[in-house]
Each structure stands twice: as structure tokens, then as C-alpha cells.
């Protein structure tokens, strides 16, 4: 099978997986206990009759198969539904928070992947050195502390004590921008957004870089013990050639898979960090939709997440096909 056949096969399976994923998402969420009418449950002004009216208005009293049919038809038309919590189309609700999530997690993702891969390779190459030991200790220490705690520590230190102690800089404790900063003009607004980004991005990126480096380090250390590395060295190749041409390219294959899988996760957001820093991303939005039973919004977000995860995996497998000829010919 050539590369085209390989790609076509992967696309076909990705589509099947997508249909299964959206079906599972739909039915799973509809069979769990609970009822969205209970949003009004503690309100003594809403009686059962009014609650029934709300169910009818939202179509939630239709049989499940009928709701599923409506769901598929709308999906084909690009309609993800209407969020009854936000009283807005689902795509619009996701569209409000997505740019902020992409800014925070996208930036963090790129920094994590690029710095993490090279840092991992760097310390793996120096396995057993003081640098490597320091890296392992740092990784374990940082991972032992919950991320939200690190976030709180950063807020206390760089938002409050920095001002109290008269440091020349400080960063905001919450939010993605100052209220009204959009009226200051493009550049000051941009600076304000970046200023708000510093703390959450730093917390996320430190964790991310260490995680990716750890992954890359493990892969590379394994590969450096392989026979073909010894063969390469026996052939007289210099250490840089051994590292980059033979070890690095093989070690990066699982990392590419991970990158592909992580694309969908970007949309899911980083709930903890978004919550600690009150960042207006999709993670917080999705969490609230889940606990408030906003069915259409949860479905819409999951559809996008599963779609993007599958797309990321598909792209990773296609990239595999290019960088590893064994895969497309197997």
C-alpha cells in the first residue's frame, strides 16, 4: 500500500471513530441521572408545571431516539445546538472562550513541545550527570506539588508580595485583561493581555516543559541502549550524528503521537489553572456546563474535542508515514 492508500485508510477509520464518539457522547450524557429542569429546583417561584414547560421548550421531553435524530441532522448542518444556560448558540459560547484557551494553552503547548523535546534530549544525552540529576529532582519536586497550589503560590508572590515588598514589577491575580483595556488602543491592550498571561502561562509551561522533557528523556535513554546505536557508533559516526540522525528521530515518534493526541485536549482547557487564575477559557466553561447540565453545550464541546483529537491523531499518523517508512509499508 502506498502513502495515499495509507492516508485514505486512516481517514476512513478516523471517521468511523468520530461517529462512534459522538454517539457515545450523546447517549452517555442522556442516560446519567438528573434533569436540567432542576436548575430551577430550589426556586419556590417555579412550580412543576412551569418546569414542564421549560422541558418542552428545550425539547427535552421528546423520546431519546428522536432527540438523537434531531442531534445528527443539526450536526450535519453545522448546528451544534443552543445553550439554554447561556441562551446563545453553542458555537458562539465556545467561540467566546476558545481564543483565550488557545492563547494560553496554545502558547504553552508550543513552548512545552519545543523546549521540552530539546531539553529532554539534552539531559538524556548527559544521563547520570549533575544536570540530569538536577532535572530529575526538579521534575519530581514540581510534580509532587498540585498545580493549583503552585498557581496560588505564584499569585501570592508575584501579584501581592511583589507589590508589598516594592519589587519593580507585579502581575495580575486574575482575569485575561483589565476591564476597559480594549478602549486603550491596540498596543496597550495587547500588552495588558500579555501581562495577564504571564502567571498562568508560567505555571503551565514549567509543568509542561518538565513533562515533555521527562517523556523525551525516557524515550531517548531507551533508544540509546539499542543495538543499532552501537552499530552506528561502531561505524565511526560522531556523537552528534548518532544523536540526531539515529537516536533523536526514533525517540521523537511517540512524542509526535502525544502531540497529536494533545491537540484535542487544548480545547478542553486546563480547568485548574483557568480556575485559579480566573482565566476565561473553555475548561471553566465546560466544567460549569457539566455541573449545570447544559446538554447541548457539553455535547458541542465534546464533539469538537473528540473531532480535534481524532484529527490530531490522524495528522500524527500521517506524519508517521512520512518520517518512518516502516509504518506505511507494514
Amino acid at each position: 500500500m502506498g502513502l495515499r492508500g495509507y492516508i485514505a485508510k486512516k481517514i476512513f477509520f478516523a471517521l468511523i471513530a468520530f461517529v462512534i464518539a459522538i454517539t457515545v457522547v450523546f447517549f452517555l450524557y442522556h442516560v446519567i441521572p438528573g434533569n436540567p429542569a432542576n436548575i430551577f429546583a430550589t426556586d419556590r417561584t417555579v412550580n412543576p408545571e412551569q418546569r414542564e414547560n421549560l422541558l418542552e421548550r428545550w425539547g427535552l421531553n421528546e423520546p431519546l431516539w428522536k432527540q438523537y435524530g434531531i442531534f445528527l441532522r443539526n450536526l450535519l448542518q453545522g448546528d451544534l445546538g443552543f445553550s439554554y444556560l447561556h441562551k446563545l448558540p453553542v458555537s458562539e459560547v465556545i467561540g467566546i472562550s476558545l481564543p483565550w484557551t488557545l492563547l494560553l494553552l496554545g502558547t504553552s503547548f508550543v513552548l512545552n513541545a519545543v523546549i521540552g523535546i530539546f531539553l529532554g534530549a539534552f539531559v538524556a544525552w548527559r544521563r547520570g550527570s549533575k544536570l540530569d540529576t538536577g532535572f530529575v529532582l526538579t521534575y519530581n519536586f514540581y510534580n509532587a506539588i498540585p498545580l493549583f497550589f503552585v498557581g496560588m503560590l505564584f499569585i501570592a508572590l508575584f501579584s501581592f508580595y511583589s507589590r508589598k515588598w516594592g519589587w519593580p514589577f507585579y502581575f495580575p491575580a486574575y482575569g485575561a485583561q483589565t476591564a476597559g483595556s480594549s478602549e486603550w488602543g491596540f498596543f496597550p491592550h495587547l500588552v495588558d493581555i500579555l501581562w495577564h498571561l504571564v502567571l498562568p502561562l508560567t505555571v503551565l509551561t514549567i509543568a509542561g516543559i518538565l513533562g515533555w522533557s521527562w517523556f523525551m528523556r525516557g524515550n531517548l535513554i531507551n533508544i540509546l541502549t539499542e543495538d543499532y546505536i552501537k552499530t552506528a557508533r561502531a561505524k565511526g559516526l560522531n556523537e552528534n550524528q548518532v544523536l540526531y540522525r539515529h537516536a533523536f528521530r526514533n525517540a521523537i515518534l511517540p512524542v509526535v503521537t502525544n502531540i497529536g493526541m494533545s491537540i484535542g485536549g487544548l480545547i478542553g482547557g486546563a480547568v485548574l489553572i483557568e480556575t485559579v487564575f480566573s482565566y476565561p477559557g473553555t475548561g471553566r466553561m465546560l466544567y460549569e456546563a457539566l455541573i449545570r447540565h447544559d446538554y447541548p453545550l457539553v455535547q458541542g464541546a465534546f464533539i469538537i474535542i473528540s473531532g480535534l483529537t481524532l484529527l490530531g491523531l490522524l495528522l500524527a499518523e500521517i506524519v508517521y508515514g512520512f518520517i518512518d517508512p516502516r509504518i506505511r509499508t507494514s
Binding site: 429542569a37 412551569q50 491575580a173 500588552v191 487564575f277 476565561p280
Partner: protein
């Protein structure tokens, strides 16, 4: 018309030349979803909406009616006819004048549409609505109490007819440019980030600050550091360990009681929950003060067994109080003959079943879960086994009959729930809602399923009498009787009324208004708060932005020079 109750606004002004300016920052812990005054669902939405819209009357810091859009009001001797005179100096945020037609439009809309979620139950009792000059005359089929009319009906938010006349209010999010007549105009809403409001220049009362920013700060510690750093001026319920340091950050502490009380609900459809002496024994065995002190960090108070808050007009001190006494619990169970016959440390009831009870509680409400754990510990020495069963709220609510759906309902022993929505001590009709078998909330279906004793019939009759009685002394006497009966029979086992603790900054603003049931961020504070010293010009961020821009530019120039 015999009684004229006109009230003139009396704002608490400081007695000095006011300082105008400044933006007040008051955070919310979660975002609103729509700003529809007819259908808001969360306190976050209500908070923003009540900045933008005004009712005919608001409640003051002592929970008494305060003239807002209405200038005065009066009623007939039997309370069946109410007349509200509106002020002549009220304007909408778009500059249009608020007229009596707007008031009629809003009330008429509520009167004719029973599906409006935020509709007072009193609209169902209206028989006629009429406009006479600048007054609206409301006629009821009977005479509801002044407290009910003024606190429930007259707090309906008034909307402009010229905006709402052509829209479906049920589907309208009203989030782009809501126009009200309240003290603050809507400027901007960045979802999940902040609201910006500016003062309504034509407001009928003076406002000193330029506006308010309402940031969404989801993490309480972050809010505390924002307060300590001067980014916000007030916050609710700070972490207890940080509260003590408030003074250090130029903040003051204010505590108040919230409109929410928690009770242990026993499913009286099941034996032995329907045995009054058993319920009394349990009530003696719960150390409610410790629950308030430990679980609530002292924020709140014991809720009296009479289901009536211990302050205000109607509280009856003669009603039974059930001070913690585990010895009494043991004695009462012994008197019932319910002893541990099989020596497993659990007593058996009159039918020989062990006194073992599952207590369902909302898994989301950690304080309620902790409360049940405490109850478990309290009752263990008395030979009662309590099992803590945290479940999701929706399932809990369905189980206790809250949805009105009988399937899978009432399959529980005990539950921890709460009542929210009114101050029962100021509101005589609240006993009707709580206890009367004739309305859904107090009925046999929900909250107190299975309460079918003769006392219930007596209480229901008394509630009906309260509802229609016009003599205030008689009302007070009837409510006294209800409290004694309820405290004796215990349909609910009230635990505690929740309290709130607030931190507010005192180094930048003065004029905070504080009340026993209000936080510092209330309507009267909005009208009286002002800067201590004149505002400084220019935000610091611009300076920071300029410095950053300069550093980046210099860096780039150096980099290019080196590369060249």
C-alpha cells in the same frame, strides 16, 4: 384608603463635601449567563441585574420597604387594594422618561403570563390592575399582608415598555445592551471575565462613584490577594485563616446572616421517623452550636426549632429550643423502650428494626456532608447508626420529591436540605410556604413528606388564618401558636442559618453601609460610597506598557545591530 405609608429616601451622607469619581471593584465568583430580569437563575445574574434595574421599592438594611421608583404607597383597610405613586424624576438609561405606563406594562405582563420564572406568586391573586394619573392601583381578591406586597410583589423589577414590547421575554437574553432605570448603566460584558457599569447620571438619587467593575474571580484565595493588593474593594467569605489578617491589609470585617437555613429532613413516610418523640430525641442529640462553630467557622447561627429566625417581629421565645443534651436523647429513647437487645451497639425500634439511617446529602455541598458526619458522631453514643450518603444534587432533589415526579421518590431515610428565598421573620406568609398542606412547597409531597399528624392540620389552619388576617396583633398571636406547635412536633429539624463574612477595604473608599442581613456591597453602599481622597489620573498599566515597549524596541535595535 386609610393608611399612607409614603417614605422619603434618606441616604446616609457623610456630612462633608462629597468626592466624586473612582471605580468600585466588587467581584463575583462565577459569571452570569443572561441579564433577563424576568428569568434570571443564579445569584450572579441577579447581582448584576439589580444594578441595572429598579423595582418600585427596595428593602433597606433593616429589611424594611424603601421607596425607589415609587414615591409613596397606600392600601385599603383590608389590604385588598394597593396604590403606588411613582416619582416624576426617573429616567431610563437611554434617556427616555420612566412613566406609569412602564410600570403598568411590567405588572400587566407578569399578571398575564404565569410562565414567567421570576414572577411573584401574588400576581395570581390580582383581580384588577388600573392606572390613575401617575399611580397604579392593584386590587387583590383578598388582602395580602403589607410584608408580602412590599417585599414580594413590589420588588418586581420594572422594565421599559419601549424596549420589551416587541420581544419574547422568555427567549431574550438581554445581554447586549440592557436598558434599565437602576443606579448603574450597562457598559460592557466580557463573558467569564468582567462587567463594566457606569453611574446613571439621571438617577433619582446622587451617586458619587463613576462606576463599578465586576470582575469574575473564581478562586477565593486569588480574590483575597486581589483585595489585599488593592485590585478589588470587597469580597465575601474569605478563607478563615486569612480573615484574621484583614486589618493588616487595611480591610474591615463584616458578618451578616444569609437568607438560607439548613435542616435535617426526616422522611415521615417511614417508621420510626413519624414518631414525634423520636424526632425530638434526635434534635436533643445534635450539637448545633458546634456545627456552626466548627463547620461554618462561626459564620451563622443556630436555627430555632420553631422554623422562625430569632430576630424581628414574630419570633416566639416560648417555643421549645432543644439545647444539646445527649443524655436527654438516651433517656427519651429508653422511655420509648427502644434499647439494644442484640448487643451490637445499635438500638432497635418498636418493630425490632435497628436504628440505622442513611442520610442523603448533596455531594457538592461539603459543609452539608461534614454536618452529616458530625450528626453521625453525635448520635453514635445514643445507639443510633447514621450512614453518610453523598449524592448528586439532582438525584437528591428527585428523591425528596422536589421535582413532583413520584417515580423513585421518597426512597430515603433522612436528608440534609435548605430553605432559601425569604426572611421568615419579616414575612408572615412564609409559614404558609413552609408548613401548610395546601401549597406544593409545604405539602406532603416535598420537604416534609409524611407529616400527617393532627398538629399538621392545626398548623395548616393557622397558616390560612395568618394569610387572610388583617389585624397585626392577631397575626402575631397566630404565628406564636404556629411556632409552639412546630417546635414541639418538629416537621423539620432545623440545624443552622448560614452566615456570611465580608472583607471591605477602608483605605480608599468611605461610606460603606452595613446591615445585619447584608454584606457591605449593597444598594445603599452604591449610593453613599465615595473616595477618601480625589482620584489619581491615568492607569499604571499604560506606564508599564510603555516601559515594556521601550525595552522590547531597544532590544530589537541592539539585536539587529549585532547581527549586522
Amino acid at each position: 384608603m386609610l393608611v399612607l405609608m409614603g417614605m422619603s429616601p434618606s441616604l446616609m451622607v457623610m456630612g462633608q463635601e462629597p468626592i466624586y469619581g473612582g471605580i468600585m471593584h466588587t467581584p463575583l465568583s462565577a459569571d452570569a449567563h443572561a441579564l433577563n430580569p424576568f428569568s434570571w437563575t443564579t445569584t450572579y445574574e441577579a447581582y448584576v441585574i439589580w444594578h441595572i434595574y429598579d423595582p418600585l421599592v427596595r428593602l433597606d438594611l433593616e429589611n424594611q420597604a424603601y421607596a425607589c421608583i415609587a414615591e409613596s404607597w397606600s392600601h385599603s383597610t383590608d389590604f385588598s387594594e394597593w396604590t403606588f405613586v411613582i416619582r416624576d424624576d426617573v429616567y431610563w438609561h437611554d434617556g427616555e422618561k420612566l412613566t406609569i405606563d412602564d410600570v403598568f406594562y411590567t405588572y400587566n405582563l407578569n399578571w398575564n403570563d404565569p410562565d414567567i420564572p421570576r414572577r411573584s406568586w401574588l400576581f395570581d391573586e390580582i383581580t384588577e390592575l388600573e392606572v390613575v394619573d401617575n399611580t397604579i392601583v392593584i386590587t387583590f381578591g383578598w388582602g395580602p399582608k403589607p410584608a408580602d406586597v412590599l417585599y414580594d410583589l413590589a420588588t418586581t423589577l420594572i422594565v421599559p415598555e419601549h424596549i420589551w414590547a416587541d420581544i419574547d421575554l422568555h427567549d431574550y437574553a438581554n445581554d447586549v445592551n440592557p436598558i434599565g432605570s437602576g443606579p448603574f448603566k450597562f457598559v460592557e460584558w466580557e463573558r467569564a471575565q468582567f462587567f463594566r457599569l457606569e453611574k446613571h447620571d439621571q438617577y433619582q438619587f446622587p451617586i458619587y462613584i463613576d462606576g463599578k467593575t465586576i470582575p469574575i474571580i473564581s478562586e477565593v484565595e486569588a480574590a483575597f490577594y486581589a483585595l489585599a493588593g488593592g485590585d478589588i474593594e470587597v469580597m465575601a467569605n474569605p478563607p478563615p485563616e486569612l480573615e484574621s489578617a484583614a486589618e493588616f491589609y487595611n480591610a474591615s470585617v463584616h458578618t451578616s446572616l444569609n437568607d438560607y437555613w439548613v435542616y435535617l429532613g426526616m422522611n415521615q413516610r417511614r417508621y420510626p421517623n413519624n414518631v414525634t418523640e423520636f424526632r425530638q430525641a434526635i434534635m436533643y442529640g445534635i450539637d448545633r452550636q458546634e456545627i456552626v462553630d466548627v463547620i461554618k467557622y462561626g459564620r451563622g447561627a443556630i436555627m430555632p426549632a420553631s422554623c422562625n429566625l430569632p430576630w424581628g417581629t414574630y419570633y416566639n421565645e416560648e417555643a421549645k429550643t432543644y439545647d444539646y443534651n445527649i443524655t436527654k436523647t438516651i433517656e427519651m429513647l429508653d422511655d420509648l423502650g427502644w434499647v439494644d437487645t442484640d448487643e451490637d451497639d445499635i438500638r432497635e425500634d418498636g418493630l425490632g428494626n435497628p436504628l440505622e439511617f442513611d442520610v442523603i446529602v448533596s455531594a457538592d455541598a461539603q459543609e452539608s456532608v461534614d454536618t452529616v458526619k458530625f450528626i453521625k458522631t453525635y448520635l453514635e453514643p445514643a445507639g443510633i447508626q447514621v450512614n453518610v450518603v453523598p449524592i448528586i444534587w439532582d438525584v437528591l432533589w428527585t428523591t425528596v420529591g422536589g421535582t413532583g415526579d413520584e417515580a423513585n421518590t421518597w426512597d430515603y431515610d433522612w436528608a440534609v436540605l435548605g430553605w432559601v428565598g425569604f426572611w421568615s421573620d419579616f414575612h408572615p406568609s412564609s409559614f404558609y410556604w413552609l408548613l401548610s398542606a395546601d401549597n406544593w412547597w409545604g405539602s406532603n409531597a416535598v420537604n416534609i413528606p409524611g407529616w400527617n399528624s393532627t398538629v399538621r392540620t392545626q398548623v395548616t389552619d393557622l397558616c390560612e388564618l395568618v394569610l387572610y388576617e388583617t389585624d397585626e396583633a392577631v397575626v402575631a398571636d397566630l404565628i406564636d401558636q404556629i411556632q409552639v406547635l412546630v417546635a414541639e412536633d418538629l416537621p423539620y429539624l432545623p440545624l443552622q442559618v448560614n452566615g456570611g463574612t465580608y472583607l471591605y477595604k477602608t483605605d480608599e473608599y468611605k461610606g460603606w453601609q452595613l446591615g445585619p442581613t447584608d454584606g457591605p456591597d449593597n444598594y445603599f453602599t452604591w449610593l453613599s460610597i465615595q473616595l477618601i481622597s480625589p482620584p489619581e489620573s491615568g492607569p499604571g498599566y499604560l506606564a508599564l506598557g510603555a516601559i515594556l515597549a521601550l525595552v522590547i524596541t531597544v532590544g530589537l535595535i541592539k539585536f539587529r545591530r549585532r547581527r549586522d
